[in-house]
């Protein structure tokens, strides 16, 4: 109970809501870091997955390569990212963390987008082709809208993973909410540590909920389940 009191006290202390080390700044850093990592992952993963899904070729390889990506430990990727960032002169903190998060975000995006496009009813695609739509048009106006909810659910999984894992960035002198956890441990200030963990968890849940709402909103009108 005392721990809970300490936690509430830490979270309500105005000093922790101010300055370059305060909660708002750390929260924004966390969102920025996560958003950029997911966007970079999307730029890499989506074109590949959509192409493979549309042509139906190499799918086995794409999914397996992406799954190997899942098996890489984030801590190892972080160390790797740190070495790359330093050799490129990008410094500590932000970029090493992005280098860790991008490979983490790619697998769920690739897998879901590939499956989303593959699972679109072949009859519809054939009909579209019969009506004279080009391959690009088929992808844009048939496969993509129909597959969008599944594609988005892949992005949601990636985003939630990224938000939770961005915490590790504090180990390489990054900002973000992980700072509270790493510093709390170093200082043996467990209220700070718990507050950091709680804030990360809340942000992950908020990410999950917003993407779920987005998914619902993007289901084509004709496919919606009427309640």
């Amino acid at each position: 109970m005392k721990a809970l009191g300490d936690l509430v006290h830490w979270l309500t202390d105005p000093a922790n809501w101010q300055g370059s080390h305060g909660i708002p700044v750390r929260l924004l850093e966390h969102i920025e870091l996560s958003a950029i990592s997911v966007i970079v992952a999307l730029l890499i993963a989506l074109p590949i997955a959509l192409y493979l899904g549309h042509t139906g070729r190499w799918g086995f390889i794409a999914i397996n390569v992406a799954n190997v990506g899942r098996a890489l430990p984030s801590l190892a990727l972080l160390a790797f990212g740190l070495v790359i960032a330093i050799s490129l002169g990008l410094g500590l903190g932000f970029w090493p963390t992005v280098f860790m998060l991008v490979p983490l975000a790619i697998p769920p995006i690739v897998t879901n987008a590939y499956v989303a496009i593959r699972e679109v009813d072949r009859d519809i695609v054939d009909a579209a082709r019969g009506m004279g739509l080009s391959e690009g048009q088929i992808l844009r106006s048939i496969e993509l809208p129909l597959g969008l909810p599944i594609i988005l659910s892949g992005i949601r999984t990636a985003a939630v993973n990224v938000v939770a894992t961005a915490t590790l960035g504090a180990l390489v002198a990054g900002g973000a909410l992980g700072r509270f956890i790493v510093d709390g441990l170093a200082l043996q200030e467990y209220d700070q540590l718990m507050a950091g963990a709680l804030l990360v968890a809340l942000l992950a849940v908020a990410t999950e909920v917003s993407f779920a709402a987005l998914e619902r909103a993007t289901v084509p009108a004709g496919m919606r389940v009427v309640r």
Partner: protein, 317 residues
């Protein structure tokens, strides 16, 4: 076996001649002096060390100067941390090792009942000796060199802002970022001490690591202006950092000094003490850091580095 060794040592001693007569006046030049009649028995010495490069180099310095003066030295280096080496010294498994005044005092007298380490090396040494007395150990002269918290800046920063000592930071610190371990802002030997003792307040603090690769990289990449490293960190020499002098004595006196068993000193004629003190007299921070850099960064053999240094200082031939 034991007798044989003593005999051998005596023979060696007769052959090379002792410093008791030869070197009493002119320190150091004892090696190959002409034989005199008086045979001196040199006790066998076991030199120990803990498990990092600086300790092994110091162990080599002590061993080689003794060997050059006719002692038979056994090296027991890399034994482990202080928790292992200190009891080994007390129990006679080793005869001497290199220690750090304030850290050893705090280690042996945890609650500070007998003496507490201070920022003054002389005072800390006196306090340490009080704690060592019941253990039949003696701390010899300390060196200027330390291994303690130090604040460093890059060569560029030092030149452009004209920084040599910590007090020089007072006017410029409000535009600078300090980097160090996350606990630094609340620790009396880190940012808190800089504020209380020097009146230095930085623009911001960046949490990094305890004198590790993050701090060094951040300094090089100019993500921080001032970094906390250990004063004998080899990267200070390797990366051309400038260690700011602790001119108001914020840090506890962790000067390097040999600690020797009284039993060994009693068997000796005072030469051993004089030889080890002659090392401490010459061991400045810059000299130690240079040796640390050669061993830790350039991967030179600590034996070779120690021998070269002793020769350069004129302590051995």
């Amino acid at each position: 076996m034991k007798r044989g060794r003593t005999l051998f040592a005596a023979l060696v001693a007769i052959a090379v001649v002792a410093s008791a007569c030869g070197g009493a006046g002119s320190g150091g030049s004892t090696g190959g002096a002409a034989a005199t009649a008086s045979p001196v028995t040199r006790p066998d010495v076991i030199v120990g060390s803990t498990n990092f490069y600086e300790q092994i180099t110091l162990g080599e310095l002590y061993s080689q100067i003794l060997e050059a003066n006719g002692y038979k030295v056994t090296r027991r280096f890399n034994l482990g941390n202080r928790e292992i080496v200190e009891p080994a010294l007390e129990s006679g498994q080793i005869d001497l090792d290199a220690e750090y005044l304030a850290t050893l005092l705090a280690f042996l007298d945890k609650d500070g009942k007998i003496a507490k380490p201070t920022t003054d090396p002389k005072e800390t040494q006196t306090g340490l000796q009080k704690v060592l007395d019941p253990k039949a150990l003696t701390v010899l002269d300390y060196a200027q060199a330390t291994d303690q918290n130090g604040f460093v800046v890059t060569k560029d920063t030092a030149t452009s802002k004209n920084l040599k000592k910590l007090s020089d930071l007072v006017p410029v610190a409000p535009t600078m970022v300090l980097g160090g371990p996350p606990e630094c802002p609340t620790r009396p030997f880190c940012a808190l001490g800089l504020k209380n003792v020097y009146g230095i307040t930085f623009k911001d603090f960046k949490p990094l690591d305890s004198g590790g690769p993050l701090t060094i990289t951040a300094l090089e990449g100019k993500q921080i202006d001032v970094g906390l490293l250990f004063t004998s960190d080899p990267s200070i020499v390797a990366k051309n950092f400038v260690l700011l002098d602790d001119d108001k004595h914020l840090q506890l006196a962790d000067n390097i000094a040999p600690v020797v068993r009284n039993a060994l000193l009693q068997k000796d004629d005072g030469t051993l003490k004089r030889l080890l003190n002659s090392i401490s007299a010459k061991l400045s921070q810059a000299e130690l850091n240079d040796m640390n850099k050669q061993v830790a960064v350039d991967k030179a053999d600590s034996k070779v580095v120690a021998a070269a240094w002793l020769k350069k200082q004129g302590l051995i031939k």
